[in-house]
């Protein structure tokens, strides 16, 4: 696109700072010198995409290498989309304003099922056929990565390949391969290219597999269509994060983005083993970073970004074995530079509160905890690993330390849930509020209960479980709403319809791709934003395609059922999940494997990796295994 045309577009949109591409630390590599070109496409608005650590990591990891470049693209705001369509202009990358079709590879991250329609919209805006099978040799290879690849089948027809697991090594490998094929002039033989990619570890080329179905509509098998295509695809793992690339010169956005801060990744993975948690399963094993490396990275981040906040990120940061040392050191070092430290995810315990207290000078904000379930019985079913005493001690500490507002996250519709579990939520919220009134007299304690609906996810112990039907979820929400009233109490809930679509897509098979197309054609996009989500689009899409969403979301699956994702290997053994499921029904908790006893999830031996803990004052390193 001509710069002047592009600038004219920008004068006509509400937030031009989304599309400038000239942010601090943005990389503009020379196109001639870098013959392998990829665009990382985040299927959501700039503000969401720029808050994503994975983008920063891959952007740096690719651009650091000679011969290849990566630029960024995001879903355009609705105002820019209208302009692009009116003027017949293609969606462009931020750095060089080139149409996405100029790139060799387009990489989408699948963070969330509700972005699938946005992916189609972006392909369409870029002028790329939605289906991989309809693409010509000159079209970019469309690849996907991220947690959605835990089960990419519903979007399989739209992708040339998926990458399972960590990308910082695998992606440059893929690009090097593309470079080689380009040089040899073999890149236009798409079939051959795909077959070569299918043999790169961690890459799944869905078109090389066929799905067979049983008469009851379940999957019978997903098998290679031809010889020389691997039967199972094993996820990629960076065994040692200390040796891995980490971006200490990330792009500093102009616009205020959702998470507008430095991100220091203290570890990857989580050992807690909550039975509903997909991230906890697919990012195993835990790999901690060395304290000295983290301190150095923090220093570089501060110097290169100028941000006012460092966030210690991971799935469960308070579990990092040297978190206290790290947090205190950072808070002390950067306090007089106006840089604060934050911990985005807290465990429900007193240690976490003390940690937050140590680093947070500002205590006006809310402290958030996630007990997930309202009764001890149900917390044991999901293996949450906290009891009522832990929760009350934690919130008590918080009130004593000066916090006034507590936010509690719960899930509704968990397996085996009964009315008393829901009333347990109410009871817990009230007890915490009373506690606040006692411990912070004169203050105005407030307790917010935020409830999402349980979505059964692949690779969890609950992958066989049905989701409650919409009416049931709504009734349960109503029950909570009627009880969670009164001064100091607030109640938030997620739209049940969104969770329903999420449940359909997360455990779906390839046939659902038709419904995704149909929903998109009816206008679905940017569905992570409640102002754009339109359930009507989906109802009509299912009707039109003859697919029954309840078959995917609300059906109890047989234990021996073949799942659409069974040919993918994230290291977690299905037998382990079955065992965990049984233990859930029995209300038996499973210990955290961080404590030194391997609970046999299969990841470490299966992937030939190990838990990497850095020791420290609280825990000793894990060595023993059973």
């Amino acid at each position: 696109m001509q710069d002047s045309d592009w600038e004219k577009l920008l004068t006509r949109v509400a937030k031009p700072a989304r599309y400038l591409g000239t942010e601090w630390n943005a990389i503009h590599k020379d196109w001639k010198e870098n013959p392998v070109r990829m665009a990382f496409v985040y299927p959501d608005l700039y503000e969401v995409g720029m808050s994503h650590l994975g983008l920063a990591i891959l952007y740096g990891a690719v651009n650091e290498r000679p011969g290849m470049l990566m630029e960024r693209a995001f879903a355009p705001g609705p105002d820019l989309e209208t302009l692009l369509r009116e003027e017949h202009l293609p969606l462009f990358s931020l750095e060089s304003h080139r149409p996405l079709t100029d790139f060799d590879v387009l990489g989408f991250t699948l963070q969330y099922e509700m972005s699938y329609t946005t992916i189609l919209n972006i392909l369409d805006l870029a002028g790329i056929p939605l289906k991989a099978s309809e693409r010509a040799p000159e079209h970019p290879l469309v690849i996907g990565g991220g947690p959605g690849v835990a089960n990419p089948e519903p979007v399989a027809p739209f992708f040339d390949a998926f990458l399972l697991g960590d990308g910082e090594e695998a992606l440059p490998e893929l690009l090097a391969l593309v470079g080689r094929l380009k040089k040899e002039g073999a890149i236009n033989d798409r079939r051959r290219v795909l077959k070569v990619i299918a043999n790169l570890p961690g890459f799944y080329v869905p078109s090389l597999y066929k799905v067979e179905y049983n008469s009851d509509g379940t999957v019978a098998a997903v098998i290679p269509r031809e010889e020389g295509v691997p039967e199972r695809i094993v996820k990629r793992v960076i065994p040692d994060l200390d040796a891995a690339y980490f971006p200490t010169r990330p792009i500093v956005p102009f616009l205020e983005v959702i998470h507008d801060r430095m991100m220091l990744e203290v570890m990857r993975g989580c050992t807690r083993g909550c039975r509903f948690c997909q991230a906890g399963a697919i990012y195993r094993p835990v790999r901690e970073r060395d304290l000295s490396i983290l301190l150095r990275q923090a220093e570089e981040l501060v110097r290169h970004t100028g941000h006012e906040e460092i966030s210690l990120t991971s799935l469960s940061t308070a579990d990092y074995s040297r978190v206290e040392e790290l947090a205190r050191a950072l808070a002390a070092t950067y306090a007089d530079q106006g840089v604060s430290v934050s911990l985005p995810s807290l465990r429900v315990d007193a240690f976490s509160v003390r940690l937050a207290e140590a680093v947070q000078r500002v205590r006006k904000s809310t402290l958030t905890f996630a007990p997930e379930a309202g009764s001890q019985r149900l917390r044991d079913v999901i293996n949450k690993g906290v009891n009522e005493e832990d929760i009350l001690t934690a919130t008590g500490e918080a009130f004593r330390a000066g916090w006034q507002a507590i936010k509690l996250y719960f899930m509704l519709g968990l397996p085996t849930e009964r009315e008393e579990d829901l009333l347990g939520i109410v009871d817990l919220a009230r007890r915490i509020l009373d506690q606040g009134r006692k411990l912070a007299p004169g203050g105005k304690p407030a307790v917010t209960v935020s409830v999402s609906s349980f979505v059964p996810k692949p690779w969890t112990a609950f992958q066989w479980e049905p989701q409650d039907r919409l009416e049931v979820i709504k009734e349960k929400q109503k029950l909570l709403r009627s009880h969670l009233k009164g001064p100091g109490l607030r109640f938030n809930w997620h739209e049940a319809e969104v969770s329903f679509i999420e449940a359909v897509l997360s455990r779906g098979d390839r046939r659902l791709s038709k419904a995704i197309v149909a929903a998109w054609r009816r206008g679905a996009r940017l569905e992570g934003w409640s102002e754009y989500f339109n359930y009507g689009c989906w109802e009509a899409a299912f009707r039109e395609t003859g697919l029954d969403p309840a078959f995917y979301a609300c059906r109890l699956r047989r234990e021996e059922e073949v799942f659409p994702w069974d040919h993918l290997d994230f290291g977690i053994a299905k037998d382990f999940l079955k065992r965990e499921r049984r233990r859930a029904y029995e209300g038996r908790v499973t210990a955290d494997c961080r404590s030194g006893r391997c609970t046999g999830c299969g990841v470490c031996p299966g992937l030939g990796v190990d838990l990497i803990l850095k020791g420290g004052s609280r825990d000793s390193a894990v060595t023993g295994k059973i």
Binding site: L20, W24, G306, K364
Partner: protein, 234 residues
């Protein structure tokens, strides 16, 4: 110590709004390692004060901001360090100390000069007539859409000077103070002229009688007056 900064804003940086500029400066200053003074209280923030806001999309040759440092530093060194941390389109023109007691930029600045240049310039004479016609009117009403409905405002008292320059560009000196602001587009459209045109803010001034002082003049030992020469200067 207090430092006053004069900078220009061009290129893609013109698309950055006031809030974005605020964040950008804070971050650039932190990267430059400047010992910024922070406000006290719960949520400390660096002590920065800006001149009048510039609308998104407008280029400027003269923007100002004041910053407070906890140490006495050489302004030239600050200028060099800070410039190295600024994204494309922002250029530091001056960095100079001002007295601790000096009034804030927004308290003293009351006029802004603009240049309007058309992509396809109108006829010079025609433009001249239009300018004279506007200046001869005692009242010039414009309507301003606001939160609670559209308001009608007389902008004539705020049009201080208006002159046609070579190649049919239009120079204007408009009120830009805490009491009121006249926008260049308002003047252009009341003159019955149409786009596409480009607006550049060419200066911010303190009016003293017929004289115009630039904010950099205030701190200088010898106050330089620009005289009536604004429109002659560019």
């Amino acid at each position: 110590m207090r430092l006053r900064v004069k900078y220009s804003k061009g290129g893609r940086a013109v698309f950055l709004g006031h809030l974005e500029m605020l964040r950008l400066w804070q971050r650039a200053m932190r990267r430059a390692g400047l010992p910024l003074a922070y406000s006290h209280g719960f949520n400390p923030h660096p002590r920065l004060a800006f001149g009048p806001a510039l609308a998104v999309g407008i280029e400027s040759l003269a923007e100002y901001l004041d910053m407070e440092l906890t140490m006495v530093l050489d302004p030239a060194g600050v200028k060099e360090k800070l410039q190295a941390e600024l994204p494309a389109g922002l250029e530091l023109l001056l960095v100079f100390p001002i007295p601790d007691q000096a009034p804030a930029l927004t308290a003293i600045i009351d006029a802004a000069a603009y240049r309007v240049a058309w992509e396809e310039p109108p006829d010079q004479k025609f433009l001249q007539q239009k300018a004279e016609a506007l200046l001869s009117r005692p009242v010039v009403q414009v309507s301003r859409p606001g939160k609670d409905g559209t308001r009608v405002k007389d902008i004539r008292p705020g049009v201080f000077q208006l002159a046609v320059k070579p190649e049919a560009t239009l120079a204007m000196l408009l009120e830009c103070s805490s009491r009121g602001v006249v926008r260049p587009e308002e003047v252009v459209s009341t003159m019955g002229l149409e786009g596409p045109y480009r607006v550049t803010r060419t200066g911010l001034f303190i009016r003293q009688g017929d004289a115009l002082l630039a904010p950099e003049s205030i701190a200088a030992t010898e106050i330089k007056t620009a005289g009536k020469g604004l429109l002659a200067r560019d």
